[in-house]
Symmetry: C2
Subunit: 333 residues, 2 copies
């Protein structure tokens, strides 16, 4: 079985965006009544995920761990009520897709984060998604300000109530920012990668996994820059008298394989312990075209793993075994 | 000849830091007279760069393109006067070291940037360093706020007067942030790398080199995450109908080799055109210890190039030829 641990619902029916547009319009006009999500039929949902199903079939993957479109989580827009209403709709649609295609999709939720409210208001939605909707994990935004980086580091006690619930529910979190409103950053080109680098360095210097030995965090996009700068990070850990990287990561930090060329994947597989790598494609996501040098989609990451010089046993870990460990609720789902 | 394009004066005599401490203390106490830099003798300067000279000799490098310690440029501290006084002292010391060891060091300046003032006040110092002190380039901080990212993108017209002077003087700029005051970021572990990624993505989406065809920008630390995510960046350029990366970079964007392990350097050399790679070590810098897996210093990057499977002609370009092209004033200096 090939489990893609990183897929977003980037192809949702247009009613969802219309609802969001209504929300955003309402922010500047408090007289407006809150928008209502127009009905979306099951057929519309089925139609909307045809691209994903086609890619699964074409590429030979089986199940996608599926979450709302990350770039439009937009935690910096509006306030806690805005974020909660938007998040619930996004998560509910993921749930409906998973119900319609239980063999193809398993749900991961977005959280109703907001820079203006405590984290506590995310916990109910997390519980609802896991306990009632059968979701197996969540995406957590380390920068709900959308590129201003005003939140506390992920290793700060601010986040601990959230980690307590993750541990209790036995679900992992993927560290995933959303769209940026800071013109310095490009959402998928620099903000995403920077957030991965930032989180990984926080994990190196903090004591998060001493305090939560069973907490599991996924750093997407192949761990940002970490594998490329593996010597730098090994050296910084050593210079700062922190645990070696493989020890720090062991049961706690995982990278996906959202790296869109063979040489990058080869480096990832060479330096990062195989037990810490989960197959992922970010499909349908950041890069949607075909690589003219290969003739295949950039984000067809399964091809790179297939072609890599590692054992079949290691490939099985990356494609399936590791995700089953990191997402223990996968089986039940 | 082996030219190290990226070295910082991290070992300056303690009088320099004492001056800075006085400056910082004065910010909260306007009654205090501005600090004065205590005299530093030539012997003290000679002594202070012995580590660099020893590393040059041990590692087989010849000349270091030498700039003030990047992490303490601290453009977010104080105002334009603070930054100018501090910058001039830092640059003057670089100049004195270069005068004392003209075969070992060539100067690159820091700029008196500050978030609170226009860029115009950097131009005089840039001219002074290049025209009077014989410097051959500068470091430009894309985020003088120190981790708040409040400045304009490097492709914004805000920076154009600065680029006009770079072009006129025919000197390149290295994109190099300083220490961060945002607790989310670790200065050398994430803030530096994030800035590289951010700048590179700005170059992909902007029209900077259409407007300044001879402008040369160096993205340090091996180009941040760019080589590891080369497929992502090629794909983003293509999806956004931007020029291919090699075309965009050709005579304008260069990466150094500050990547502290063999597999990372091998990836860099594999995907990035050899004409766009300059040898650099960041020595004595971010990582100061010995890699226990090799027995050599992490930042002894010459070893990785020596061991790489590329031709001698390509190595010569990386070690010397490319830097001579990017820094045409190198010869005169």
């Amino acid at each position: 079985m090939v489990i893609d641990c990183h897929g977003h619902y980037t192809t949702a029916p247009k009613q969802l965006q219309a609802f969001r547009d209504g929300q955003v319009a309402g922010l500047s006009d408090p007289e407006k009544p809150p928008p209502v999500l127009s009905a979306i039929s099951d057929d519309e949902l089925r139609e909307s995920v045809q691209p994903q199903l086609q890619f699964q079939s074409d590429r030979g993957t089986d199940v996608t761990i599926f979450s709302p479109r990350a770039s439009v989580m937009g935690h910096h827009i509006g306030d806690a009520r805005t974020s909660l209403a938007w998040t619930r709709h996004c998560n509910d649609l993921i749930h409906r897709v998973c119900e319609l295609f239980p063999n193809n999709f398993v749900g991961v939720c977005q959280l109703p984060q907001t820079p203006s409210a405590p984290l506590a208001n995310c916990l109910d939605e997390l519980r609802r998604c896991v306990e009632q909707l059968g979701f197996i994990g969540c995406n957590v935004n380390p920068d709900p300000s959308g590129g201003m980086w005003t939140a506390k580091p992920l290793t700060d006690r601010f986040w601990y109530p959230f980690y307590e619930v993750l541990v209790e529910l036995d679900v992992p979190a993927m560290v995933h920012v959303s769209g940026t409103c800071n013109p310095n950053f490009h959402t998928t080109g620099s903000h995403y990668i920077n957030a991965d680098v930032t989180a990984f360095m926080q994990f190196i210097t903090g004591d998060l996994f001493r305090d939560f030995p069973t907490l599991r965090m996924i750093v997407p996009h192949g761990g940002g820059a970490a594998p490329y700068h593996w010597g730098r990070y090994r050296g910084l850990a050593q210079d700062n008298k922190r645990p070696p990287l493989d020890e720090m990561m062991r049961g706690n930090v995982f990278f996906d394989t959202c790296v869109y060329h063979q040489a990058g994947i080869d480096l990832l597989l060479k330096v990062v312990p195989v037990d810490n790598i989960l197959f992922g494609s970010e499909m349908v996501g950041a890069v949607r075209s075909i690589d003219p040098t290969t003739g295949f989609y950039f984000d067809d990451t399964k091809r790179y793993i297939d072609a890599a010089a590692i054992s079949d046993a290691d490939k099985q870990k990356i494609f399936e075994g590791n995700s089953r460990k990191v997402f223990p609720r996968f089986r039940a789902a």
